[in-house]
Point group: C2
Amino acid sequence: MPLIAAATGGTPTRRPVWFMRQAGRSLPEYRAIRADHGMLESCFDSSMVCEITMQPVRRHDVDAAILFSDIVVPLKAAGVDLDIVAGTGPVIAHPVRTADDVAHLPVLDPQSVGAIARAIGLILDELDDETALIGFAGAPFTLASYLIEGGPSRNYTITKSMMYSDPELWHALMGRLADITITFLRTQLDAGVDAIQLFDSWAGALSDADYRTFVAPHSARVLAEVSDFGVPRIHFGVGTGELLESMTKVGADVIGVDWRVPLDDAARRVGGRVAVQGNLDPTVLFAGDTAVDQHVRRIVAEGERAVVHGAAGHIFNLGHGVLPGTDPDVITRTVELVHSI
Amino acid sequence: MPLIAAATGGTPTRRPVWFMRQAGRSLPEYRAIRADHGMLESCFDSSMVCEITMQPVRRHDVDAAILFSDIVVPLKAAGVDLDIVAGTGPVIAHPVRTADDVAHLPVLDPQSVGAIARAIGLILDELDDETALIGFAGAPFTLASYLIEGGPSRNYTITKSMMYSDPELWHALMGRLADITITFLRTQLDAGVDAIQLFDSWAGALSDADYRTFVAPHSARVLAEVSDFGVPRIHFGVGTGELLESMTKVGADVIGVDWRVPLDDAARRVGGRVAVQGNLDPTVLFAGDTAVDQHVRRIVAEGERAVVHGAAGHIFNLGHGVLPGTDPDVITRTVELVHSI
């Protein structure tokens, strides 16, 4: 598989490319399915997860399928009262803010994500041998931010306030979330995913010192406790220029890089031991073929320089997820272009 | 004035401190004024601008007043149809997206910001000799993002799409916005402000390469065209770790740094020629006195190391603006603490 080769220092048969959020709102076939089904319903229905995961693979000829899911899926499965509201995102009925709240957080029983394990079986039956299936989980910090704030946040005020004012409570919460994430990822790995991506989407809100003190130990435990499967572990966040080295040191095999840091620069920052993934600005897909061509070629060149600097490989991707209004034909042409260079 | 001394390599009589958004929603006396007056109405009423600007100076004993205004004030004054909607922010009636839109952008007549010039006169009458008055303006990129998107944005999709797809149109728009910003700042400088701060709040959404190509020439022109006044020019943005050197090179005397980059590290990145301003995470003010004490002392130490590395000085501030729910007494105590160290 080209993606696995690039992630592990091998020689891929073609330049691997996939797009974060390739399954989702940019595709009319996805919107057609979702017209009659809520987000959480879709995430817990094996055949819908399979179908939605496969849609972009069929359409775009990408080198990986990313399991269709949501960061809060394992929390919901564990029994946290939450919903995903269109136009808002996750809404937590009772935000977690006290020692009592943390003590009452449920544990994730692997059986409660059985539908996701079954979906992975269905997807693997459909995927060809060259296309990797990437498992999906949110990292403890990003999960904590949703649980504490009660939903998406701009400033993470309550989250950081807990972190700074009550480190003991903070670490207790992060430990429980790490447990949930480990169970969710091991379930996916048992079901046969070829790689996993740990999404610490909002870690970029932190300084490196705070990341190392309050987040790294828990993300490190998550990545360590799935290492026995021997599959590549991709670690991703947005606005993480200051954190790339720390986010690699916690145990990543592939480090996701957003568009703010050139890939060759990223490879230098992390010491060149891992593969780099990224990093086209998702807005470039709105700017026409000439701009796409120019930026894709620049990123491919920077990825090649990253490998010269010692990176294990380069997996082409966006710097963040596909934006909702993106023309899917542009995505298809971008994949073709990456494969053609 | 301690702030001016720190900005220019002098020896301040005490450690200067002010807080971005110190005038505003954190203060009950501000909310009392605003209960009966809209945001734009407040920004164009000389006595209200003076009163709101002075409120935090009286309460907190800070070393600078920041002119109470909003980034879109000069656009409104020039005749752009816009409003500031509570809970949303600026809303532009007709977003600027075509060559025709750009061609019809109005020019700012200094007389249309006469109320702001008069407010500055009133403020200078009230301020003592040790407290600096800082003028306020948005930088062309941040202004462009509001005009193009039609309001606040999460991804700047339309803004960046114009930048990537039609550089000529982009530069034409940025040139007109630079003109407006220059006129607005020169009006404030003519009225006697002691320093200016150019807010490129959202520049951190860009890579350094894009910043240098699409933004730097215009911000450089703004800063050059106010240099004859010989007052310190502070340049600020959020999430600008990758841009600090470029944002300094455009002509800043003081570089604002958010909480993601330690001040001594920032001083190294920008080559130590300028002063550094920052960089307490605004969420720390919610975390109790112990956390505030710890973070303030760390930042003071990093600021001192920045000066050792060649920075002209350190102005204590937040890494971004005061958050709305901040307890004003915590701000007062934080100022006392900074002055006591």
